[in-house]
Amino acid sequence: MGLSKRDKKSSSTSTSPCAHFRSAYHNCFNRWYSEKFVKGQWDKEECLSEWQKYRACLSEHLDDKQLSRFLEAEAAFGSIFQGDSENPV
C-alpha cells in the first residue's frame, strides 16, 4: 500500500502488490455475504484461505510504520468490538 505519487496517477488499477489477493478475497467475501450471511447462514466462516493469503501479503507489503499506525488506531477503536471476545473465529 504505497502512498507514492504513482498510486494517484493510476486511478483505475491499483498498484498494490496485494491487489490480486485482495480481489480474490473480495469476490469470495461478497458472494458469501450476499448469498449466505444476510440470509441467516452465519454459522460458518468462509473464504479462509483467500483471507490468509491476502493477510499474509498485506503484512509483508504494508509499510511497517503505516501498519503499526493502523493497528494502534484499531486498538484504540477496540471499544466497538468489546463484549464479543469469547468466541473468536
Binding site: 500500500m1 450476499s34 452465519w42 466462516e45
Partner: protein, 185 residues
C-alpha cells in the same frame, strides 16, 4: 469546536442488497473513477460471531484529500489515512460503519458514522441510510485560526463525496438487482 452534519437517504432496495452494495462500493473497479478520492482500501481484520450473526470488520482507507491551498501549505500532504470499523448484525438487520482519520490527527478529527436499517414504512423492500459527519479542528493547531473556513471547505467536500457515494451505491444496487433476477430466472 465541533461541527456535525447529518444526511438521510432512502434506497428503494432491501437491506440485504444495500449492505451488499456497501461492501462493493470501494472495491469495484468501475467505481474507482467516480470515487477517485479513495486510493486504497484494505481489510485489516475481520471477525464473525457465529452464534449471534454479527460480523466485525476493520478496513484501512487511504484517501486523497488535497483541501484548499492554505491548508495544504500547513499540513504539507494531501493523503489521509482512515480506519473504518463496521458491525453488521444479520439477525436484527443493521449495519453500522464508523470512519475516523488516523493521520493528520493533530490538526483535525473527522468522524463519519453511517447506518443502514430497514425502512420502517417498508422494511422488506426499502433501506434507510443515516449519515453523520463531525469535524473538529484541534483548538491549538496551526489550523485553529482559520477553523471556520477549513470546516466549511471540509463539509462541502464531504457533501460532494457523499453524493458521489450515493450514486455509486444506487448503481451497484441496480446491478445486484439485475443479477438476482438473472439467478431467479
Amino acid at each position: 469546536m465541533v461541527k456535525a452534519y447529518t444526511q438521510e437517504h432512502v434506497y428503494k432496495h432491501p437491506w440485504e442488497r444495500v449492505t451488499s452494495a456497501s461492501w462493493r462500493k470501494f472495491a469495484d473497479p468501475e467505481n474507482k473513477r467516480t470515487l477517485s478520492h479513495i486510493l486504497e482500501v484494505d481489510t485489516l481484520n475481520r471477525k464473525l460471531d457465529t452464534r449471534s450473526g454479527k460480523l466485525y470488520t476493520t478496513r484501512a482507507l487511504t484517501i486523497h484529500a488535497p483541501g484548499p491551498w492554505f491548508v495544504r501549505k500547513i499540513i504539507g500532504q494531501d493523503i489521509c489515512h482512515c480506519i473504518e470499523s463496521t458491525v453488521v448484525d444479520a439477525q436484527s438487520k443493521s449495519m453500522q460503519l464508523t470512519t475516523r482519520n488516523v493521520s493528520l490527527q493533530k490538526f483535525i478529527e473527522v468522524e463519519e458514522k453511517i447506518r443502514y436499517d430497514p425502512h420502517p414504512d417498508n422494511p422488506t423492500a426499502w433501506t434507510v441510510c443515516r449519515q453523520q459527519t463531525s469535524i473538529r479542528i484541534k483548538p491549538l493547531s496551526a489550523l485553529a485560526s482559520m477553523a471556520e473556513k477549513v470546516e466549511q471547505k471540509c463539509a462541502e467536500k464531504f457533501m460532494q463525496n457523499s453524493v458521489k457515494g450515493r450514486e455509486v451505491m444506487e448503481r451497484i444496487c441496480k446491478y445486484l438487482e439485475a443479477e438476482s433476477r438473472g439467478i431467479a430466472l
